[in-house]
């Protein structure tokens, strides 16, 4: 009887251990890709680039000492949520993580990223433009290696504009006139959409009029400057408020199924987009079969002094949970550091490279895009847009800032407040939040 009791106890104990086993300790690495060289150091990577598996295979086949173990942990916020939880838990983060440049400060302030200056970041600095490098640096520290960028242009439906006899707008004034003309002509769609949840898109539009919303430097992590209700931002938002009030643009939320369909079925004649926009459009279904897409530079406020803007863009950072930051840094630096990798990135994932050897190549400049009827959109639009980009500083609580911006813009669109009040309220709420979070305002 006693031995039975002991056996029972043992079974229970084993069961208990098995149950707890999954909650503690390092999780077993599960790679989406095949490891070519099993002996080599493995570096776990989270990323959501399209066609990334081929890039990973390319890296693993060409490296004997380091191998990538890749997982797609979700896109954007889905991945950040997991990363954020892993930081709080103290384990579970990958060695290398794909982060948009706008969230780098949000994670570096939590000591979640490794300063890559100690791991040879300087060696590759010359391979990137100044603007791109500024986005991943804070003071002397470098928190990530740039991958792709989002210089902005304007994608438009040539067939719709032709049908209503509207010239392609080059300034925002012409843009407003075109919106009015399209409405007056009784077109079923509108000229464009103004999504209140555009987040980085809205921010980019403000930046074109000189908005510098945040001043932040990791060297002085408790100080922040917030200026979201500057005159430039107010002018831009007032401009869109006018278009919205006149019913000249739609106010659909971006990145919903409705929005995706409207982008390609002719509901919007113009899609003010980043360089990754064409790839986004190409992946959408229910497209208008007769659509004729073209790309043009983004409209300007002052055509004599054009200002180029950027929307999105991503990087590879090394997390502070990495046991082997040296190997992780090699991955971050080299995964998109070959022409072969970039050909996959450009042709299959529609990424805009920040790596100069390919960015400056004739191949990329002269590439013809079938989606745009063979137009060389890089030469025409995105390369000039990228060359004017000087970098941008984001806040260490960017997600909160964007959520607040969405709320205020939505209130404006609903007619609850005017554009100037919306931005003043945004300023007040961000200042309050920053103070609560222990920052001193500059």
């Amino acid at each position: 009887m006693k031995s039975k009791l002991l056996a029972g106890a043992a079974v229970t104990a084993v069961a208990a251990v098995a149950l707890t086993g999954c909650s503690g300790g390092e999780p077993e690495a599960s790679c989406t890709n095949k490891i070519v060289n099993a002996e080599a150091t493995q570096v776990s990577v989270w990323a959501w680039y399209p066609a990334f598996e081929e890039v990973v295979d390319l890296f693993n086949e060409s490296h004997d000492d380091v191998q990538i173990c890749w997982t797609n942990a979700g896109q954007g916020n889905d991945e950040y949520t997991k990363f954020s939880t892993a930081i709080e838990a103290g384990s579970g983060a990958p060695d290398v993580i794909m982060l948009e440049s706008e969230v780098l400060s949000s994670f570096s302030i939590r000591d979640a990223l490794v300063d890559l200056t100690e791991h040879g970041a300087d060696e590759v600095a010359a391979d990137y433009t100044e603007g791109a490098w500024k986005d991943v640096s804070s003071g002397d520290a470098v928190y990530a290696i740039p991958v792709d960028g989002g210089p902005m242009g304007m994608l438009y439906r040539q067939d719709i504009l032709d049908q209503y006899g509207i010239a392609v707008p080059t300034t925002w004034d012409e843009f407003a006139a075109a919106a009015q003309a399209l409405k007056d002509a009784g077109a079923p769609g509108v000229l464009a959409d103004f999504p209140t949840n555009g987040r980085a898109y809205n921010q980019a539009l403000f930046a074109q009029a000189g908005s510098v919303p945040f001043e932040y430097d990791n060297a002085k992590p408790t100080e922040i400057g917030i200026d979201v209700n500057d005159q430039g931002s107010k002018d831009v938002l007032a401009y869109w408020e006018g278009l919205v009030d006149g019913g000249l643009v739609a106010t659909d939320d971006a990145f919903t199924a409705d929005y995706n369909t409207k982008l390609v079925d002719g509901s919007y004649a113009i899609y003010v987009a980043a360089a990754w926009g064409p790839g986004y459009l190409g992946g959408l279904s229910d497209a208008d079969a007769d659509a004729v897409w073209k790309a043009a530079p983004v409209p300007q406020w002052d055509p004599a002094n054009p200002v180029q803007i950027n929307w999105g863009g991503s990087t590879f950072a090394v997390t502070s949970q990495s046991k082997n930051p040296e190997a992780a840094a090699v991955v971050a630096k080299e995964v998109f550091g070959t022409e072969e990798a970039w050909k996959i990135g450009i042709e299959e994932a529609a990424l805009f490279p920040l790596w100069k050897p390919i960015l400056d190549s004739d191949y990329f400049r002269d590439l013809e895009y079938p989606f745009f009827g063979g137009q060389q959109i890089n030469k025409d639009v995105f390369l000039p847009a990228a060359s004017g980009y000087t970098g941008f500083t984001f806040s260490p609580f960017q997600n909160y800032a964007y959520d607040q911006l969405t709320e205020q813009q939505f209130a404006m669109v609903q007619g609850e407040k005017d554009s100037a009040t919306a931005l003043d309220d945004l300023q007040a709420s961000l200042e309050k939040y920053a103070t609560e979070q222990g920052f001193t305002l500059k």
């Binding site: 229970t12 949520t81 954020s84 302030i109 992590p221 919903t256 369909t261 909160y400 709320e407 939505f410």
Partner: protein
């Protein structure tokens, strides 16, 4: 005859169950030991996945962590902040509003369906019972996703149906109508489940009572309102209890709809959503723990008050 013998406990069993009080034999002690052993796996899981996280979260809520200055012990300061935080309080008021509208709606639908099904005896009634229950078998997130498409002005049937009468397409996801849209999803999902609970209670009523009522001249309506409803009041209390707790913790449906209606549903729409975004979007885990505990306390208090008020109906008194 056979049923009677099985329902009555055999005398030997009665004798054994009394044994511990009269001293207890080694046999009983051994049995108890085995009993504990069988309970241990549950206790381990319970302690590990419920009790421990509860204490851990409470511990977290006593600290304040900010982005710029790090973590400090601040005692109950987070709770003071929570109960004066307009976002938390507005969310709390909003879920109370949902409770006031949603619970009676669900209860009425469930009760009406159960009463009708209880009177009908046909193959059709079995089929309808299944159909009313089916939404509950669909996972909450899937159900909400499905509705988000049905509500969409472009993909949903709203434009076609209203268009047929020459009416404009309804904006189910606009700020003014999102409340009703959410009530509709929850009612659709849960009314069937509550219906089954109520229906089961109705089935357990002794039919001879109906016979007596009929002899006394009660018609169908009078039987339903005067006899059936009072006799299942304890089940109804349970249903309201479930619905109350579920509503105060409202989370899944608004989170799913937020992806198509970000303006109408903000990050702090319900207290649970607020705690979630604080922790996972804004990395304020400590304050999120305090919000979660405050919500827990309010749900506990609300349930307690409700059970106290209905102690007569539920048979707790």
């Amino acid at each position: 005859m056979t049923t009677q013998t099985t329902t009555a406990p055999p005398p030997a069993a009665v004798g054994r169950s009394r044994a511990p009080r009269s001293g207890g034999s080694t046999l009983v002690r051994r049995r108890q030991r085995w009993g504990w052993l069988f309970v241990v796996p549950f206790l381990v899981v319970f302690a590990l996945l419920l009790i421990f996280p509860l204490f851990y979260a409470f511990g977290m809520s006593l600290f304040t962590s900010t982005l710029a200055t790090g973590t400090d012990f601040t005692g109950l300061a987070n709770y003071g902040k929570a109960f004066t935080d307009p976002l938390f309080l507005e969310g709390m008021l909003r879920v109370l509003g949902f409770a006031v509208v949603m619970i009676p709606t669900q209860l009425l639908v469930a009760l009406a369906a159960a009463l009708v099904l209880d009177t009908l005896v046909s193959r059709l009634s079995k089929l309808s019972r299944l159909f009313i229950f089916v939404p509950y078998a669909i996972p909450g997130v899937i159900g909400a996703l499905m509705w988000s498409f049905l509500y969409s002005p472009r993909f949903g049937p709203g434009a076609t149906i209203f268009g047929a009468f020459g009416l404009p397409t309804p904006e189910f996801l606009a700020p003014d109508s999102i409340f009703g849209s959410l009530v509709n999803i929850v009612t659709w999902q849960w009314a069937g489940y509550y219906m089954v609970v109520i229906y089961a209670a109705l089935r357990s009523i002794d039919p001879s009572i109906y016979e007596a009522a009929r002899i006394d001249g009660a018609n169908g309506w009078q039987t339903a309102i005067g006899i059936k409803v009072p006799m299942i009041s304890s089940s109804m209390v349970m249903v309201v209890m479930f619905a109350l707790i579920g509503t105060l913790q409202f989370f899944t449906e608004p989170v799913v709809l937020r992806s198509v209606a970000q303006g109408a549903i903000d990050a702090a729409y319900t207290p649970n959503m607020y705690a979630f975004s604080l922790a996972f979007s804004y990395s304020q885990f400590n304050y999120a723990a305090a919000i979660a505990f405050s919500l827990g306390a309010l749900v506990f208090a609300g349930s307690f008050v409700f059970l106290f008020l209905t102690r007569k109906q539920s048979g707790l008194k």
